[in-house]
Structures are given as structure tokens and as C-alpha cells.
Symmetry: C2
Subunit: 274 residues, 2 copies
């Protein structure tokens, strides 16, 4: 009696409803347990996307570690060293002005979520990512959903830059929206991050160095030989097929469902990958 | 540069703001890795709460297994056997009429969540649990948040009964609200469930018997010798201190926050335990 609680993503109508990942903005995070595939949304944080790629390309992350795993919250990686023990940065920048939100680009496709959101005036999907918009201020930002990539920082808004990154592994911490530079999402391999032992130190930090999880390396997918690339497509979010997918999550047709709420919230529609 | 993304639960004002767990309605789920403490809300599903306690007290779950771990969704346990291979039930019932929701009890304290919800007319907290209400139909039910305990079933609404239970380990699957009998929550030990290897079969089932995670036993806390009990208190949810806690999550006072959204959604306020 294994219950059919969830039926997989609805099939889209045609191959035009899917797109390949943008290889120049896709990262492969390699752990001993396998590969985590992360797609960046450069339009959401152009300087951070460029800086993280520069860090990746100079090998900054290779051999560094996952240092923090907080249950129902985030997995965070980067340099565990402090002060002089910090890893040298060659060409990239250590910190950048925050990119918590950006101006709404009227030319950018936006598929609105069908129901009002608790946290934002409007939510929806752009370029394959969950986003929120505030028409009054003309700003948009990425919503912190399960799998969202964010930038750690200190108390100073401009103290991040991508040397420490995190991924959401729990219920969407939407209070982080517009409080850190969020600009990507895990497309494949979430289960390699979500199963990591939770840290027992403050904020889920690993208390002992030997608990940290080594990052073998991070590469930009475009730099990886074709045979080593992960073949992945994501569903386009600017098509009728995607709107229909959202509606299939909003009103469940499967026999198992007895009460069909016909409501859906942005983070309950992960963008399908195949 | 470990970012202070989260500050711990706000301290309550007095010991009257906390209550001990209801031992007669608390389960200890014992795994090799430790104890998961689950508190039931019998008012939400009286027949299921009684039946699960009857199953526990006849030793039904002891030596059975966790059979399903689906990333960003649920951990589910019970009898992996089918047909004649199913474990015998002595005094409890195998199935029960569904208790997806119950009449609103006007005498039951209800602390409303301060902001409108995406899925329900009203949400809030009763007796320490996250609940939703529909004043029009006069019904209330438990919301599926991270850590909520639910009852697996087949396509027939009345095909569950508590022999297979699940706990939410991902973003709140609110589309399950009123679709299964949800009647408890994990108070301590979530990280013992959330780190379990994800199953690679349909719906996250473990494909091989040796992947299943053995349940050493489940006991009702009241039946456990006092020295073996887990000392835990949960914050009362019918006090000004709790309303103040909710507000502290809604508008973050910590210096780290640059944008204070002043909005909060039911599943982003786990009820604190200590």
C-alpha cells in the first residue's frame, strides 16, 4: 500500500516546450557522491554571475568544503579558513555590491503564478526560474524556493560576492527574498545536498574539520568536454505547455485527490527537468 | 564569513509560555540513529490517534521499515509486505474512515496567522499545531508543513488507518491538505529522517529490501519509564508570547536583514521546542 501521493511532471506537448541548459551559465559541483547541476540566471545578478564564473574558472572552489548544513534551511560551501588562512583569489573579486533585486525588464517573458502570494505583490516564472515582482517599485528578484542558489554574506549588504554560496534544502525561506543575492537553482542532484549530515554547531555549521564535505571541483559546463557533460533539458516557462503544467499542479486530476484546492504557490511548482 | 542567516527562536517571557508534551499522545520512533519524537493532535483525528496508539501498543511497527524517502516530499514507513506477507494486526484496525478534517470547535484556542494564506481562508495555530480553517464550511484541518505527520492511503479515501505513516521532509505540500489524515508533527529528531538516502524507485521507494531503514520500535511516551523519556517542552501557541514569536519571524529585527517583508506564512513558523 504505497500511496500514489505524487504523480510526475505532466508531459509537455512538443520538444519546443523544452530548452537545453545554458552551458555558459551552468555549474557542475562535483562531490565524491556525484554531480550537482546548477543553472545561473545572469539577468538576476549580472556581476555575481560573472564573478562566480571567474572564481570557478580560477579553481577557487576546488578542494574547498561544504561547511554548514542546517536542517530545513540551507547547505553552504566555501572557504572555511579565516584571515590569513583564507584561500587566495587571483582574478575574481572577494566582495561585490549586493544584487538583491534588479529592475523589471519589460522585454523579459514573465508567466504569472495564478494565485496571490503571501510575500510579494506578484510571483511567476522568468527564463526558467521562480521570481517575484513589485510593480510599484519596478523591481524583481528570485524567490527562495527549495533548490534556490543564494550568496552568503555578513551583516554588511555588500560583504558577499560568491565566495560562499548556499542552496535551500527546506521549506522556502521567503524572508530571505531581497536579503541576499539569489541567482540560480539546482536542476539536478538536490538529493546529494539534502541528505548531508546536519551540522551541530551554530546555524548548522560542522563543528569539526573532518565533518566537512569536500568539493572535488566546480566547473562551468561550457568548459567541460562534451562527453563529460550532463544531458539535461528544462521545461521552458514562457509557453502554454508550462502554464498548463502549473494548472495541473494547481488542480490535481489524479484519482487519488479527493479535495482539489485549485490554489498553488510559486515554490510548489518546481520547473521540470529531463 | 559564516552568515547569520537565522537567529534562534525568540525567548519566551515565562515558563507559563511552555508546556510539556502530552505523553499519552507522544510517540517515540526509535531508529538505529536515534529517537524521533512525534506529538499527536487527537482532536484533529480522534479515531486515527487511537488506532495508531493501539498499533503501537501491540508492537505492530516494531521491526518494520521506512520504505520510501522522496526528496523534497516525504519519508514513509510501515509494512513493506503485500497480501499474505502483511504483518498481522491483533487489536487495532487496518483501515478507518478518513479524518481529513473536523468541525471547528469554538472552544479550542486558535491563534490566527497574521497574513492571508495561499491555500486556505484562514490559517493559524491550535494546541501547538499548524491548522487551517474554512469558516464557510465550519471545518478545520492540519496544514502539511515540514515535519507534519500524515496517513498514507490508496485511492480510496477510507483505505488508510495508520499502518503506513509519513512525515513531510520538504517544502510544504499544501495540496495534500484535506487529502489525507494529518494529525501530528515531529517535535525533535527531524534530522534523523531528513538525511535518509532518497529512494530511486517510483515515488521514492527503496528498490531493494536491504535499503530499507529498520524501525527498532515505536512506543507511546506514557508507556516509557520516566528515566528513558525525552525531556521536552513546546511553546504554547495560545499566549501573547507566541504571537510575539510569530511577529519576530514576520518582521526580523536582526541587523542582518536589510529588507523586512513583514509577511509570514504558516509553515515558516515552526512551533519552538526546548
Amino acid at each position: 500500500m504505497v500511496s500514489a501521493l505524487l504523480v510526475g511532471a505532466a508531459a509537455a506537448q512538443s520538444s519546443d516546450d523544452w530548452r537545453p541548459l545554458d552551458l555558459e551559465h551552468t555549474l557542475y559541483l562535483e562531490l565524491a557522491s556525484g554531480r550537482v547541476v546548477i543553472e545561473l540566471m545572469p539577468a538576476m545578478a549580472p556581476a555575481h554571475a560573472a564573478n562566480v564564473k571567474a572564481l570557478v574558472r580560477e579553481g577557487y572552489f576546488d578542494g574547498l568544503t561544504i561547511n554548514r548544513v542546517q536542517d530545513n534551511y540551507v547547505v553552504q560551501w566555501g572557504d572555511a579558513g579565516q584571515g590569513d588562512a583564507r584561500r587566495e583569489i587571483k582574478t575574481a573579486k572577494r566582495t561585490l555590491p549586493a544584487e538583491f533585486d534588479v529592475p523589471i525588464d519589460p522585454a523579459m517573458p514573465f508567466t504569472p503564478a495564478p494565485d496571490p502570494d503571501v510575500y510579494a505583490a506578484a510571483t511567476g516564472w522568468s527564463q526558467g526560474f521562480p521570481v517575484a515582482r513589485d510593480p510599484e517599485s519596478g523591481r524583481m528578484w528570485m524567490t527562495h524556493c527549495y533548490g534556490t542558489l543564494g550568496t552568503a554574506r555578513g551583516n554588511d549588504a555588500d560583504s558577499g560576492g560568491g565566495t560562499q554560496l548556499f542552496v535551500v534544502i527546506g521549506h522556502a525561506p521567503r524572508h530571505l527574498d531581497r536579503n541576499d543575492t539569489a541567482f540560480g537553482r539546482v536542476v539536478q542532484g538536490m538529493e546529494l545536498l539534502s541528505v548531508l549530515p546536519r551540522g551541530t554547531g551554530p546555524l548548522g555549521t560542522y563543528e569539526r574539520a573532518d565533518q566537512r564535505v569536500r568539493i572535488e571541483r566546480i566547473r562551468v559546463a561550457a568548459d567541460v568536454p562534451e562527453v563529460e557533460r550532463t544531458r539535461l533539458e528544462v521545461m521552458r516557462t514562457d509557453t502554454p505547455a508550462f502554464a498548463s503544467h502549473v494548472e495541473s499542479r494547481r488542480t490535481r486530476a489524479e484519482e487519488w485527490f479527493k479535495y482539489r484546492v485549485s490554489r498553488i504557490e510559486i515554490c510548489n511548482v518546481p520547473v521540470p527537468a529531463r
